[in-house]
Amino acid sequence: MEQLLSCQNLTKRYGYKTALDSINLTIERGRIIGLLGPNGSGKTTLIKLINGLLAPTEGLLLINGAVPGPETKKVVSYLPERTYFNSWMKVTDILNFFCDFYSDFDRNRAMEMLHRLNIDEKDRLSSMSKGTKEKVQLIMVMSRDADLYCLDEPIGGVDPAARDYILQTIITNYNERASVLISTHLISDIENVLDDVIFIQNGHIRLTTSVDEIREQEGKSVDALFREVFRC
């Protein structure tokens, strides 16, 4: 099977500022990967490139062997850091929206998760707390049967109990041919569910390795290593 994602000398500049500098990276199937780096390191830029919201300045990014476009959007499920739903929307509107847009969307799976978190389908987004809105959005994204899930800061605004449920949701909803890319600062919360980590800094990949390897070789958690590598 083809590599799920590969970046070859991928570069993105905003004017004179280089956000990603000639990155080479591959992502295999069946992995949960943490994309970790300090603020302004290029995490969101990379995720936006994967989703075709930005075009590379130089280099190549391939998903299932194809450049980002309508075909790759069918297999990439994206949770942006900010919501794109209108606040007048009810949960049912969003469900309809996802059913219309994505043929791989599983409405029953989404409804089941909404019920588990006591979210009423008749509720409007405008009446929800920040955390609940995030939950709704994540449920939509994880209810697709995609190849690659890109989650940009998925657990920042939700309480620890819901965080656990969301992580369980991520673990249970992906399969061997899919991978999950999670960008976050909350490393210790997600560390136990990660296979691999990518450390990114100033547009460069500092380190790609597995969580087990870090623990075996360094004798410390990913969180501790992150604090050491990116000490201010």
Partner: protein, 122 residues
Amino acid sequence: MAWILDDSRPIYLQIVDVIKTNIIAGAYQPGDKLPSVRDLAMEASVNPNTMQKALTELERSGLVYTQRTSGRFITEDTAKMTEIKEQLAKEQIQLFLKNMEQLGFKKEDIKRLLDQELKGGK
């Protein structure tokens, strides 16, 4: 059984220890079927790949065996169980002795204190 995982060791090794302890302590009986990888992963809140790795390790130690198509089972080999039980006990004792040495106790003192404790305090 709580899945308390610490920060310093690979997660799959810690899972191996938890399941080992469960087997030794009798929470799982010989011949019992283990839950599926996915269910165990959910229970421990870890990634299925990590759980898979832990189970492979347990298979290698002989405590768990796989029957094709029907799943994973706890070994019925009681000699194997005893062997692993004693090995775990040995590890605990060595740890204890090391800690006592660090406190500056000699072997005779350790023995005397241990005897005293086993007899029920002072």
